[in-house]
C-alpha cells in the first residue's frame, strides 16, 4: 500500500500525464487524477490525500476556488496544496498564497523543481 496519496487536479491531459509521470519517480506514492475542482472534491470525499497539486485555470471550478473550499473545510484544511498556473504573474501567486496554498509552481513545470517542492512538503527523501 502506498504511503502517500497524491491528487493532481488539471484539465489538460498532457499536463496531468506530465505531472503524474514525474511524481511516479517518488517511492511509495499513489497518484489520483481529477479534471477540475468539482471532480477533485468528489475524489477528496472518496479517499484521503497527502497532497494536492491543482492548476489555477480550469473549467467548472478553478484551482483558487477549490483551494478556498479546501481551506475552509476542517476535514481537508491540513492537506498541503501546490498551485500551478500558466501565468508567472505575481498577482496569481499572491492570491494563491493568501488563500492558503503551501507552494506555487509556474508552467512550464520543471520536474526537478516539482519533485523538490513535493518532497519538501511531504517531508520525504527524493
Amino acid at each position: 500500500m502506498a504511503a502517500y496519496n497524491l491528487l493532481i487536479v488539471e484539465d489538460s491531459p498532457t499536463m496531468r500525464q506530465l505531472i503524474s509521470f514525474s511524481l511516479k519517480r517518488l517511492k511509495n506514492v499513489k497518484i489520483v487524477e481529477a479534471t477540475n475542482g468539482v471532480d477533485a472534491l468528489k475524489k477528496l470525499s472518496e479517499e484521503k490525500f497527502s497532497l494536492i497539486i491543482a492548476d489555477i485555470n480550469m473549467p467548472l471550478m478553478d484551482g483558487l476556488k477549490l483551494l478556498s473550499i479546501i481551506r475552509s473545510d476542517p476535514i481537508y484544511n491540513n492537506i498541503p496544496v501546490i498551485i500551478v498556473t500558466t501565468e508567472g504573474a505575481e498577482a496569481d501567486r499572491e492570491k494563491g498564497i493568501k488563500l492558503g496554498a503551501n507552494a506555487y509552481l509556474s508552467k512550464p513545470i520543471q520536474t526537478t523543481e516539482l519533485l523538490k517542492v513535493v518532497t519538501g512538503l511531504l517531508k520525504i527523501e527524493n
Partner: protein, 277 residues
C-alpha cells in the same frame, strides 16, 4: 682563674665549634663535588652512546620509514583530491543525466499525447497544450498549407488575435520561407529581439513528414518565466514536434476525410438499398 681568662677560654671554644662546623661543611662540599663529577662523567658517556646510536643503522632505517610514510601520505592526499574531483564530476554527470531523464519524460509525454487520438481538433488542442505547457509560450500559432491556394493559414493559435486571420504565401517573409526551405528558424538573440512586423516569429518550425511540408508552428514570444531564453530541451521538443505533430495532424485530417467519405458512401448505399426495396 680570673674573669678575663674564662672569657678567652669560652671564646676559644666557640671559635673551635665554628671551625669544626666549617670543616664538616667543607667535607660535605667535597663529597658533593665528587658525586657531581661522577654524574658528569656518566652523562658524557650517555651522550657518547646516544651519538653512536644516532649514527647507527637503526636510525637510518627509521629515517627511511619516515620518508616512505611521507611519500605515502602525499600519494594519499593526491588520491583523495583525485577522488574528490571524480565525485564532483559524478555529481555534475548525475545532474546532467537527471536533466536528460526529465527531458525524455517530457518528450515521451508529448509524443504519447500527440498520437493518442485521431480527432483533428483534439490533435490541435494537444499541440497547443504542448507548446504552452512544455515550451512556455503564450503567443503562437499553428498554420497549415491550403493546397488549393498554396497559402498558409492559422488553424489554431494563442494570444495572437490581431494576426490569426492573416494568410501567408509560400516563400513570403520568415514563415513563408520556412515552408519553402524546410529549415527551422530560431531568432538568434532574444534579449535584443525587435520584430520587423507582426508576422515576425522568434521560432518557426516546419511541420514535416519526411520532405513533405504540411504547415508550420510559429512562436512569437515566450512567457516571462522563460527569461527570453530557449533551453536545450525546448529545441529538442520543437524538433520532435515538427515530425510528430505533422504526422498526428496529417493522419487525423486523413482520418476525418475518410470518415466523411465513408458516411457519404454509407448514405448512398442506404439510399440505393431503400430505392431497391
Amino acid at each position: 682563674m680570673d674573669k678575663n681568662e674564662s672569657d678567652i677560654t669560652r671564646k676559644a671554644e666557640e671559635f673551635l665549634k665554628v671551625f669544626r662546623k666549617g670543616e664538616e661543611f667543607t667535607q660535605e662540599l667535597l663529597k658533593e663535588n665528587e658525586r657531581l663529577r661522577y654524574r658528569t662523567v656518566q652523562f658524557e658517556d650517555q651522550v657518547k652512546a646516544l651519538q653512536r646510536r644516532s649514527e647507527g643503522p637503526e636510525i637510518e632505517n627509521l629515517k627511511d620509514t619516515i620518508s616512505h610514510l611521507e611519500e605515502e601520505k602525499t600519494a594519499l592526499i593526491n588520491r583523495y583530491k583525485a577522488v574528490e574531483d571524480e565525485n564532483k564530476d559524478f555529481a555534475a554527470r548525475y545532474l546532467e543525466v537527471e536533466d536528460e531523464n526529465n527531458n525524455l519524460a517530457n518528450l515521451y509525454v508529448a509524443s504519447y499525447q500527440l498520437h493518442s487520438t485521431l480527432d483533428f481538433t483534439e490533435v490541435l488542442t494537444i499541440v497547443v497544450e504542448i507548446i504552452i505547457n512544455l515550451i512556455g509560450t503564450d503567443e503562437f500559432g499553428i498554420m497549415l498549407i491550403d493546397e488549393m491556394t498554396n497559402e498558409l493559414s492559422f488553424v489554431a493559435s494563442e494570444g495572437i488575435d490581431s494576426i490569426k486571420n492573416k494568410k501567408i504565401k509560400i516563400g513570403d517573409g520568415i514563415i513563408g520561407n520556412v515552408v519553402k526551405t524546410g529549415e527551422n528558424y530560431f531568432e538568434e538573440d532574444l534579449e535584443i529581439f525587435h520584430p520587423a512586423s507582426d508576422l515576425h516569429p522568434i521560432v518557426c518550425i516546419p511541420l514535416k513528414i519526411k520532405d513533405y511540408i504540411i504547415g508550420v508552428i510559429a512562436i512569437f514570444s515566450l512567457m516571462e518565466q522563460k527569461n527570453k531564453k530557449l533551453t536545450k530541451v525546448d529545441y529538442e521538443l520543437l524538433s520532435m514536434l515538427a515530425g510528430h505533430a505533422a504526422t498526428a495532424i496529417f493522419s487525423s485530417k486523413l482520418y476525418s476525410q475518410s470518415e466523411r467519405k465513408l458516411s457519404t458512401i454509407q448514405g448512398f448505399i442506404d439510399l440505393l438499398s431503400n430505392k431497391n426495396k
